[in-house]
Amino acid sequence: MKKTDFEKELSQKMSSEEITLPESLSAENIEKLINEKGSIIEPKRIVSFPKKNVAKWISVAATLVILIGVAAVVGLGNLPVEKANQLNDEEQQQIIENHVAQTSDYSEIHKTVLSYYKEIYNRNYDLLTDSDDGFFNGIFNFGSKDTAAEDIASGNSSSSSATGTLATDTESASTQHSTTNTQVQGVDEADIVKTDGKYIYYIVNNTINIVECDEDAKMKLVSKIKLTDYIDYDFYPSEMYLYNDNLIVLLRETSEYQPVSYSNSNGVVCDCMCYAVKTDTVVKCFDISDRANPQESFTHKLTGEYISSRVTDGKLITVAQFRIPYDSVLADDFDGACEVVKDVCVPEYSVGDGELKKIPSDRIKVFDEKNPTCYTVTSVLNLEDMSAEPKVNAFLGGAEEIYCTREEIFVAETIYMTWTNSEQIIATDDLGNKYETSTKVHKMNITDDGVEYVASATVGGMCINQFSMDKHGDYFRIATNGWDYNVAERKTMVYVLDKDMKIVGFLDNIAPEEQMKSARFMGDVLYLVTFMQTDPLFVVDLSDPENPEIKGELKIPGFSTYLHPAGDGLLIGVGEGGTMTGTDGTAKISLFDVSDPYNLKELDNYSTGSYAYFTGNHKEFVVVDENTYAVALYYDHSYGKLVVFSVTDGGIVIDDIYNAKTGTTYGKTRGVFINDNVYVVNGTGIISYKNGNETPVHEIGF
């Protein structure tokens, strides 16, 4: 992302501040420090260092330094514990077989996991290997892993085959209200705000606020649901669904692993444990038949971090990613470590107040995995009958973005380059091309018995978000951006895959050197926005799956991070403005005429000159009615602004601009439309308006 002016300014300020390097940190003194202390290993820094032997190893190391001199420094480059526990390959393999033989249910998993573990255990925790077994992960990542539910705030979007959601949904004869802007019709997505035309439900920090709205746009806070006792800023916000008289919330909870008690072959009881913080995904359901008294009616947990979810055909599909915490294992020896790994390597789930239990092995799919580092854990909950147990499945493979239709889920996982002991393993797509990063896409079917794995494919580069993927007819398409390994050049690509996940079509090298900012699939057409200094909008023709080709290109200043088809050959782009040499961070709405793909035109644009507030999250965009849309576009003097505009006669007409309550809550502002009333909701409260009148009617705070 091109650095904004503010960032450049900040960088200058922070780099120019008079900071003198203290004497102790000069090269000479550092050299002295290394000579003094470089060979002594500090016990608290070592993952698998036996606690009891700390003093022993310090004195051994110290003695060696004194006696042997410089050569010892070389020899002690390895951790002494490695030497002490250096069982040969055969011995380690025997230990693994003993561990695997003990249980029959999970033997396949244990075998795959333990042989991988043996490899990394012997590798001395290389820092630059795959992100899962970094040395410093184990030592320093005491807290939760720094992944968060960023789907809400991630950059770009592309659309799917179905049309966008119609804004209004008749509840009773006379209530019309807006709904969450989703990618696929019939597939609902979670958000921080929901409405049923009578109430607005909004999550702020750890609380759901239920606000009653009357026909005069007056509001009343009816009740609050406190989700957790603390505010988890790194996983923020939680998101929810409204389904009949239920609010279903997705949250995360952290907990600790329990220690494992183990006697080794010498009969010595060892301290073994995994000290990583466990992150679990929690589904909580609240019965809100009485809005003033919400009751928690159901809860369900999956081990792993929350990735995303969907509701379709009365089913809630939840996707979590569970990482095996190999590098946070603390044990006296390899045997004990294997015992811990066995204990923590199978994903679990719980229902209600029940204990977490391992997912049955016949519901876990294990491949011949060279890098079994994480699972994708899925559950399907029947919302019409929540007393039925959710159907939980898992497979060994990660998930970062999901694309979901009514019948299928596609889960995308980023694969980075890794190093083994002797070679660099470079990410390669299924066509044999090498990339610095690639994406594995896993296809699954949604059934009443849960999510069923079908097949996987590897494509080059990375997708940006859910809109980078689409299913149309029998084909799955994905737009990615990444670095070609051989040429070391960034490019955008489109892959077309058949129902067995075989690549049948590939369009390479779109906009070399540029980033991909947004994409939107509409049937046989893909609209793609790339950016380096200007915003080429590309139209890609996908009518022949085996031969995708670029039909048109339009270069305009700025770039769009969200594309929304407006019907009649019109495409709306929301993003940032700029000049022909770069972006200026200001907010912009563009209207493109895409009726003739060979002759794209920007018909109109609206630019405020104020900084963009829109984060690229499609949920900040609302379809009000056939020609009217709203977006939390920019802010001005601390007021976030909801811009309502119409697309008429090939131009953008700004209908109204409503202020949000003071206090910018970046990414968390939403416009809600109920009949003639407009509600601008953000983290500090709601301001209501009569449609067409920018004078506030009422205001409440959270």
Binding site: S15, I19, I30, F140, A148, W419
Partner: protein, 173 residues
């Protein structure tokens, strides 16, 4: 310079502390600056750089790609700084899980002489956000590099970075 760096690192990998110190000297200012902004205190920053340097030297033999030295060094330093803020009291014995989860006591006294305003803006961020901002602004890493250092998706890095810069911009207005 690149070739010299590679040669020096290879030498450091054989245990040559002088070679290592020379490599270090190329990054010394940036490392200290990063630690200073991160921890807010010059004492802590000094400790962090020293600890990070020791850890790096001990493990330099495992560095396969000399050209990655900078990322590697900053990753070590980031983690050391993060731990420093979690566990301000130095402990000699192994840290138990309970100790790890203890919240850091408030550190008062500030002898940091850089702009209090900038520091306050940085402090308004969460530890993760602060790390991203510093890696970008001081380390001058691209979002994909930061994504690898922090094990996140680059999309998340970008969105968290914009959000954090926004927060800071507001604070500084």
């Amino acid at each position: 310079m690149k070739n010299d760096l590679t040669k020096l690192i290879r030498e450091a990998q054989t245990g040559n502390s002088k070679a290592f110190a020379t490599v270090y000297s190329f990054y010394a200012n940036d490392l200290y600056r990063f630690a200073l902004w991160y921890t807010g205190k010059s004492d802590d920053a000094e400790d962090c750089v020293q600890e990070a340097v020791l850890i790096a030297f001990k493990n330099i033999a495992k560095l396969r790609k000399p050209s990655s030295f900078k990322s590697w060094m900053f990753k070590i330093l980031s983690n050391v700084c993060k731990t420093k803020l979690l566990n301000p009291a130095d402990r000699l014995c192994t840290v138990s899980v309970d100790e790890i989860h203890e919240t850091a006591s408030d550190v008062s006294s500030d002898d940091f002489t850089v702009s209090a305003e900038l520091k306050a803006a940085l402090d308004s961020l969460s530890p993760e956000e602060k790390q991203i901002v510093l890696l970008s602004v001081i380390g001058r890493y691209k979002s994909s590099e930061i994504a690898e250092i922090m094990e996140m998706k680059s999309g998340s890095v970008r969105s968290k970075l914009s959000r954090s810069l926004e927060k800071m911009r507001e604070q500084l207005q």
